[in-house]
């Protein structure tokens, strides 16, 4: 197991390297006229910053590979992501403040998604081809097509017209008032969770159908075990292993969805930070968010891979 973890971590190095190159090159593609635009558009900094200073702040004044070395070295050695162009605040500080909020939203959405998907998926498989199964499957296919930003917009518009109720817009941190914070986060988490649940539900159903036909399930029935025990102890544990992989694969979707939910419900997480940075063309912040999101997704996938051993005793790491 330890050797496997080490190997898995080593395999992460080239992927991380490519990810950092993708981030670096994407943002370095900024055409020269964008710098002119930045200088002309935003009067605040342009007044204090000349073209040369701005190029230096963006790190454009040295050859590409030196720029990359400096940038990645700063992050690896000092955790230094650079400084925001407008606020003069270290980007790392922003990230530390915003990351937990997006993480909370993502985690809540994931929990909601699983709470919706697994019971319905299991039910759907146990009662295959009944009316309930059809309703559940139609719901899941529908949720795949409904854009979450549309659902979010509807939640903002219709309850307010019908009942004069609208979600709270002033964000309260979890540490200040946990209850209010959770009540604020739950609506976006439910919307995000429902759209994620669609694929999970379909996979749970497929896997359950496959597992339920196995010999050991027949044995469990033949022993006279009750339905609850057969499902929970024998079938579900085996059916859930691929579902766990899916959670890892859905991590990018979860973060992408969180950006939209943060925009609709004005939650000051990474998504809102990114959108603000984009509107201000604050490239160090954009690069920081971009890199952190990619690394976070890779770490989630690593944890998912390693958790197989706990879930499935048949999996032995070599």
């Amino acid at each position: 197991m330890q050797a496997y973890i080490v190997r898995r971590l080593l395999a992460l190095i080239p992927t991380l390297f490519f990810a950092s190159v993708i981030v670096f090159v994407t943002v370095r593609m900024i055409p020269g006229d964008v710098i002119d635009l930045m200088l002309s558009q935003n009067d605040i900094a342009a007044a204090k910053m000349g073209r040369e200073q701005l190029e230096k702040a963006l790190g454009f004044d040295t050859p590409m590979w030196i720029q990359y070395g400096k940038w990645i070295g700063g992050i690896l050695l000092h955790g230094d992501f650079g400084t925001s162009l407008w606020q003069n605040t270290p980007v790392g500080e922003y990230l530390r403040a915003r990351l937990p909020i997006t993480f909370e939203l993502g985690l809540m959405a994931l929990v909601v998604g699983l709470l919706v998907a697994i019971p319905i998926g299991v039910y759907s498989a146990m009662r295959q081809d009944t009316a309930g199964d059809y309703v559940a499957r139609s719901f899941s296919i529908l949720m795949l097509a409904v854009p979450s930003f549309w659902l979010g917009t509807m939640v903002m518009v219709f309850p307010s017209i019908w009942w004069g109720w609208s979600p709270e817009m002033k964000f309260v941190p979890f540490t200040e008032n946990p209850l209010q914070n959770l009540s604020q986060m739950i609506i976006p988490a439910i919307i995000l969770g429902c759209s994620l649940s669609a694929i999970t539900m379909r996979l749970t159903r497929t896997m359950m159908l496959e597992v339920l036909r196995q010999d050991y399930i027949r044995t469990a029935w033949a022993k006279g075990l009750g339905e609850k025990l057969v499902v929970s102890r024998h079938a579900l544990r085996n059916a859930l292993i691929p579902v766990v992989t899916l959670i890892g694969l859905q991590a990018p979707l979860l973060i992408g969805g969180a950006v939209i939910m943060e925009q609709i419900f004005v939650i000051p997480g990474m998504g809102l930070l990114l959108l603000d940075a984009v509107s201000q063309r604050d490239y160090p912040v954009i690069t920081g968010v971009f890199l952190i999101v990619g690394v976070a997704v890779m770490c989630i996938n690593l944890v998912v891979d390693l958790s197989y051993g706990l879930l499935d005793p048949k999996v032995r790491y070599r």
Partner: protein, 300 residues
């Protein structure tokens, strides 16, 4: 001997065989009615998109200040917005933009996927290993985040968005083509072609590509829905094709959102269009996958 031929055989010989396409459409309707319904909606969407200029009763940006924020009626089936623009016409022109972005983006994505998948899967070895680590890295970035970052660098506009979406979906989808290539590569006819001295290009073009076409077609269909949805998310954030172009995502954001409390129909029509089209595309794609490519059945 020919004169002794069984009359039943000679009678059967001139019978016209149905074209494979017609046969396939027949199977689609018989075996996958829901998928066929999806295909009908999909073609309807394509039709609306292509003939939006003819179908739309009003211009896409035709302003009528006296008729602003009218609820749906016979004159304006989807109502009007805060500038008195007809929502039905705007949704139809939105379909046109979605068709262009969806088809160009998905087309580009499919070409990229097929190219990377075939080269990486067929050549294998160290090249494949390194390329796949790159694909890993690329796939760990959420689509929307990459789109936001790229648009922030190159600016919003149709060509940039199509190009970015094409690359994004293309690199991610290359996995599916690669796995198909890896299994086709081991077939006898490929080894036979190699042993007769066919060039790598010839093997790829004449032997591998035709045999991975089913997953390529399926990938294209699923990509259309995905690209349309991704673009609408971007437009919703105000980073899509710039206004006044009426993209469906854009109609749900910006000024549309400001007036939704006075005119809730503004929130309904574009979202419904988007949902129906993506739903139909998904159903059609699923049916195509089941009919064309048994290996991929239930893989999503």
């Amino acid at each position: 001997m020919a004169t002794l031929a069984d009359p039943a055989v000679t009678a059967g010989a001139p019978r016209r065989r149905r074209s494979p396409l017609l046969h396939f459409i027949g199977r689609l309707f018989r075996e996958k009615p829901l998928g066929a319904a999806g295909a009908v909606v999909f073609i309807l969407f394509l039709f609306c998109g292509i003939f939006a200029d003819v179908l739309a009763p009003h211009g896409m940006n035709q302003i009528a200040p006296l008729k602003r924020l009218r609820p749906p009626s016979l004159e304006f089936p989807f109502g009007t917005d805060n500038l008195g623009r007809d929502m039905l016409s705007r949704c139809l022109f939105g379909a046109q933009l979605s068709v262009i972005i969806g088809f160009c983006g998905a087309g580009l994505a499919t070409i990229v996927s097929t190219f990377i998948g075939i080269v990486s899967g067929y050549l294998g070895g160290r090249f494949d290993l390194v390329l796949q680590r790159f694909v890993d890295a690329w796939m760990s970035f959420p689509t929307l985040i990459v789109l936001i970052v790229v648009v922030s660098v190159v600016g919003p506009g149709m060509p940039q968005i199509i190009l970015t979406l094409g690359l994004l979906f293309g690199i991610g989808g290359s996995r599916i083509i690669r796995s198909a290539v890896v299994s086709v590569r081991e077939n006898m006819y490929v080894h036979a072609a190699q042993s007769t001295g066919a060039s790598t290009f010839r093997v790829l073009w004449r032997h591998i590509l035709p045999n991975v076409l089913p997953p390529v077609i399926v990938l294209f269909t699923t990509n259309v829905g995905g690209v349309i949805l991704a673009e609408s998310g971007l437009a919703f954030l105000g980073l899509g094709v710039p206004p006044p172009a009426p993209t469906w995502g854009g109609l749900l954001s910006g000024s549309g959102r400001t007036y939704m409390l006075q005119g809730p129909w503004l929130a309904l029509a574009p979202g419904l269009c988007l949902t129906i089209v993506v739903y139909a595309t998904n159903m059609f794609g699923d049916a195509l996958r089941d009919l064309l490519d048994p290996r991929m059945r239930g893989s999503r």
